[in-house]
Amino acid sequence: MDIIWITTLVIAAIALLVAIGLVITGKKFAVKIDEREVAVREKLPGNNCGACGFAGCDALAGAIAKGEAPVNACPVGGAAAAQAIGDIMGVSAGALERKTAFVACKGTCDVTKNQGNYVGVQDCRAAVLSGINVTDCNYGCLGFGSCAEVCPEQAISVQNGVAVVNRNRCVSCGLCVKACPRGLISLIPESRIVRVQCSNRDKGPLVKKVCSAGCIGCGLCAKQCEFEAIEFDGTLARVNPEKCTLCGKCAAKCPVKVITTPV
């Protein structure tokens, strides 16, 4: 027989064998994938940021489908994703308010006096490790923008020496919270608009010395509040979100204007 025919036949035979083999193995070793997992995965944003604590959106979808994670576990997708995933899983999503990052410092270049003797790597974490003071205030924003660097949505920018969050862009992934070496950033529900924008725990005169926009612990806000919503952590005022009614009287009375006002 002609060699061409032999070759054609042999290759066809091998291809057929391989095809049969693949089909049989495919059937025999088929892995059942939970169809809910696929559906849940589609509703997740797909950032793979890891803010939920899982290795990525795929891993979270698997955990939700198995019931190991709550349907609202994705902070980025927020209420919309939680609702959609809750529908798939047959669980009510529960109320999950959108959170945004909040920088608890108002110490812009105008109100603080920088020592200005730090010349090392322009990075917040490196600056803190170096032990050299970048700002007089030991609690305030350093302004090198380590948080802005890690933000996947470019929602943070350093303006006049202080990190500012663009709340419309924030997806509350929490990467900036971890990046800030001074722990100034926290995720706060959007409606809790009355916040103390300072983290300095020093006594009043010391605060006054380094920053004219720092909480001096005078207590005027607490006196104003009719709901006892202002608490003091040492000399640093703090708004208790459970009692606060967002009236804004404290903000109006604050002598250093460090409490944000309701819009």
Binding site: I3, I6, T7, I14, A15, V18, G21, L22, T25, F29
Partner: protein, 192 residues
């Protein structure tokens, strides 16, 4: 037995598949960014090449050679190796999910790796028998793993250095790979 060990050492060091034969360069440069990923890829390569060279050897000795179809070996090897990797992947997914997770994305990647086909063809060219083919495949794959893990180690060091701007990224990796290749030429003097 002695000759098998010789074949393994020769495949791993003297005729290193990446650094001396320049096969499988794409994954060598592409996946060597992280030590862990490159080690996983190396493990997957060892796994696939050893099995592929065994199957290719049997196929050649009992099908292609008797029928005088020597000239079709490239095409048939590609066909069989691709199918084989697919089957192995399905098998692992079902029977051993942890191994599947570790090798995961690399298995299909290796299907199209020229090193796999290269080893199968070299084995046939050298006229190895079945045992020698498996040893050669294993040795070659170990050589690939050694090369990629070494490069990953070098790259992790390079990343910490303050390089001149034109050298950053791909150029310095090319230079590192070239220096490694020159270093591995030293093994050429080994008398086995």
């Amino acid at each position: 037995m002695k000759s098998l060990i010789m074949i393994i050492i020769a495949g791993a060091l003297i005729n290193n598949v990446v650094l001396n034969q320049f096969l499988g360069i794409c994954s060598f440069l592409g996946v060597s960014k992280q030590m862990k990923a490159s080690a996983s890829l190396g493990a997957a390569v060892i796994f696939v090449i050893t099995i592929a060279s065994a199957v290719a050897s049997l196929l050649y000795d009992y099908v292609l050679k008797p029928l005088g179809m020597d000239f079709m070996k490239t095409i048939i090897f590609i066909l069989v190796i691709a199918a084989l990797v697919q089957i192995v992947e399905m098998f692992l997914k079902k029977k051993s999910p942890s191994v599947y997770k570790a090798l995961g994305i690399y298995l299909p990647l290796i299907t199209t790796n020229c090193a796999v086909l290269g080893v199968a063809l070299t084995n046939v060219q050298e006229g190895y028998n079945f045992a020698e083919c498996v040893a050669s495949g294993f040795g070659t794959a170990v050589g690939y793993t050694v090369a990629i893990v070494l490069l990953a180690g070098i790259r992790s060091r390079i990343n910490e250095k303050d390089l001149p701007a034109p050298l950053r990224g791909a150029p310095i990796v090319m230079i590192a790979a070239a220096l490694m290749s020159i270093a591995f030429m030293g093994f050429g003097g080994l008398q086995l």
